[in-house]
């Protein structure tokens, strides 16, 4: 394989089928260190499946995933996470019997730092995502927006080089989105974190992403700078098939639909 040095994360020729149905086909892209890549596409385009494959929750049928020059294709999720690539879930998956701080602390545990430092670190991260007042509450007591932040906090506590975010903004009202967007920008600035984020809210994609990957029916439809991609006729067509200008209104009325999915998933 051509292990070119410009990509911190390289995904090449990845395919995945469920019972003959191609969820991913020949997906190929690379992300450079410190880059922010937005991933968009209509529902069912395979975006979440892509994250699952990249992070080891599912093994791909074909293709390879290379992280920092190391082939991590099909490795166990915990190995990939410890290698520095961490993801969040679209449907929040808190550890229900733990407090918020414990949830976050769990993610930092693998570094074998002393207990006091571990607690400090987790509280620090909890503060950073704005969950400070809830630190010692049970995770299940958090409202949806809080759970979203908890997802983010846990991933941050791993101090990832590459962070994969699956719709972190979904379910948040516009006022709640701003601080999250600021935090993500801050992550790149201060921590040099490379970001991949799946997002339906176009405004956020336009603001944050250096580059955008458009997926449709398991394939990469287009990739490029945000302005370029959104003007691409193929992209417009893919979206027109679904719901025109979908992103904004959908996110607002999404609460109920999302909760349904949470239940179906758990």
């Amino acid at each position: 394989m051509t292990a070119s040095t410009d990509g911190l994360l390289q995904v090449s020729g990845v395919g995945k089928a469920f019972r003959g149905l191609h969820a991913l086909a020949d997906v190929e892209f690379a992300v450079a260190e410190g880059e922010i890549l937005g991933i968009i596409g209509p529902n069912g385009a395979g975006k979440t499946t892509l994250f699952n494959v990249v992070c080891g929750a599912l093994a791909p049928d074909t293709g390879r995933v290379v992280l920092g020059g190391r082939d991590v294709t099909g490795a166990a999720p915990h190995r990939i996470a410890r290698a520095g690539m961490v993801r969040t879930f679209q449907l929040m998956r808190p550890f229900g019997s733990m407090t918020v701080a414990e949830n976050v602390g769990l993610a930092a545990q693998h570094e074998r730092i002393p207990a006091r430092k571990l607690r400090e670190r987790s509280l620090e991260v909890v503060e950073r995502v704005g969950l400070g007042p809830y630190a010692h509450r049970r995770a299940t007591e958090l409202p949806t927006a809080g759970l979203k932040r908890l997802e983010l906090a846990r991933a941050l506590a791993m101090r990832p080089r590459v962070l994969l975010l699956d719709e972190v903004l979904a379910g948040l009202v516009p006022a709640e989105r701003e601080p999250v967007l600021d935090l993500l920008a801050d992550l790149r600035e201060k921590d040099g974190t490379t970001l991949l984020f799946i997002e339906h809210i176009m405004a956020a994609v336009m603001r944050l992403a250096d580059r955008v990957l458009v997926m449709d029916q398991g394939r990469v439809l287009a990739a490029g700078a945000p302005e370029e991609v959104t003007g691409d006729p193929r992209v417009i067509e893919a979206y027109l098939g679904e719901e025109p200008a979908a992103a904004e209104p959908r996110a607002a009325g999404e609460g109920a639909d999302r909760e349904d999915r949470t239940r179906a998933d758990s």
Binding site: A57, V86, P94, L106, E120, E124, P133, A135, R154
Partner: protein
């Protein structure tokens, strides 16, 4: 569990954790319980001594089962396997090779842990869940029972009888029948088991295990090696259950395949914890006290039954009927068990 007062707190300062870390508080409670329990045999009538020892054996089994099924969320229907391996390993070493039951106990722990890891590895490797997992654990325990029953060197259906000695010996764990030593040894073992479960739950390993129970995929995505920590959990659980088996043999001086590997043993462990509260530290303690003394209460009742129960004289089964009813009632009405329900109420 405090620290819930919210917005008034200045948010730029970290919120303080509860003053006494929970594990220290729980260890303190345990210490108090032990201090209270140590002089009990000197106060209680002698007949109650046997009940107390039985409660402690139940407690050991219950703590073992709770670690795997409660903390780990891996519902075992076959803990008789580990109880039996503990009992048989120490009995075999003692009877056939004259090895001290203390060493036999350690060997039994090792054997049980090893078997648990092997069974667990396959069960997790092939992703057995829920009912399938329960049935698989049950099947392995029954297979062990059948194998032991038909194997020459475990004396087939006869089992082992511990050779009697004159006087008492700590190294052979054998004392006169009315000695308090059995009680104190059992108390020490059970206390240690509870202490281990407290330590385990609050350790980093315990956190991983809890996280895997709550959400396996989320845990592994945050760097938790799922298989490794599951295996650690079943090994610890099996080892503690094996201690119960080894001590049981020494106390009753006799063991056979049904007593050691029978499904009744697994059920005993399950019922005890479910009544007390699955996944809690004190559930096994409360459950063991209830279930252990229930046997005694019904036995007394049947020895001299009141008139309306006189038809039951000499019949067995009442004790199990009672705890079966208790089990169903608890599951229906207090699904978190006694301790779990109390904790839940207090949190609100």
């Amino acid at each position: 569990m405090s620290g819930v007062t919210l917005a008034e707190r200045p948010t730029d300062r970290p919120v303080k954790a509860p003053p006494l870390r929970p594990q220290n508080r729980q260890l303190l409670v345990l210490l108090t319980l032990l201090v209270v329990a140590i002089p009990l045999p000197l106060i209680l009538p002698p007949a109650q001594g046997a009940v107390a020892v039985r409660i402690l054996i139940f407690l050991l089994m219950a703590v073992g089962w709770n670690i795997m099924s409660g903390f780990g969320g891996m519902f075992s229907f076959g803990h008789a396997a580990y109880f039996g391996l503990g009992a048989y390993t120490s009995a075999y070493l003692l009877v056939e090779h004259g090895v001290s039951p203390w060493i036999g106990m350690l060997a039994g722990m090792a054997v049980a842990a090893l078997v648990a890891v092997v069974i667990g590895y396959f069960a997790f490797r092939y992703k057995l869940r829920g009912a399938y997992f329960a049935l698989a654990t049950f099947a392995f325990a029954e297979m062990l029972r059948l194998i032991v029953t038909s194997t020459e060197f475990t004396n087939k259906a006869v089992g082992f009888t511990v050779p009697l000695i004159q006087g008492s010996s700590l190294s052979l764990i054998q004392f006169p029948a009315d000695s308090h030593a059995y009680y104190w040894i059992a108390l020490a073992l059970a206390g240690a088991a509870v202490a281990v479960s407290i330590w385990f739950l609050h350790s980093r390993t315990g956190r991983y295990v809890t996280a895997i129970r709550d959400d396996e995929l989320a845990a592994s995505s945050l760097g938790t090696p799922v298989m490794r920590y599951r295996l650690v959990t079943v090994a610890l659980s099996a080892a503690i259950t094996a201690v119960a088996g080894a001590f049981y043999t020494q106390y009753y001086l006799f063991v056979n395949p049904d007593l050691a590997f029978g499904s009744a043993v697994s059920i005993q462990a399950i019922v005890t914890v479910v009544i007390g509260g699955i996944g809690t530290i004190w559930g096994p303690v409360v459950g063991a006290v209830i279930v252990g003394s229930l046997n005694d209460v019904t036995a007394t009742l049947l020895r001299t039954p009141p008139d309306f129960l006189s038809f039951l004289q000499g019949r067995s089964g009442l004790d199990v009927v009672l705890y079966a009813i208790l089990l169903v009632l608890i599951v229906r009405l207090l699904p978190k068990g006694i301790v779990g329900t109390i904790l839940e109420r207090r949190r609100r």
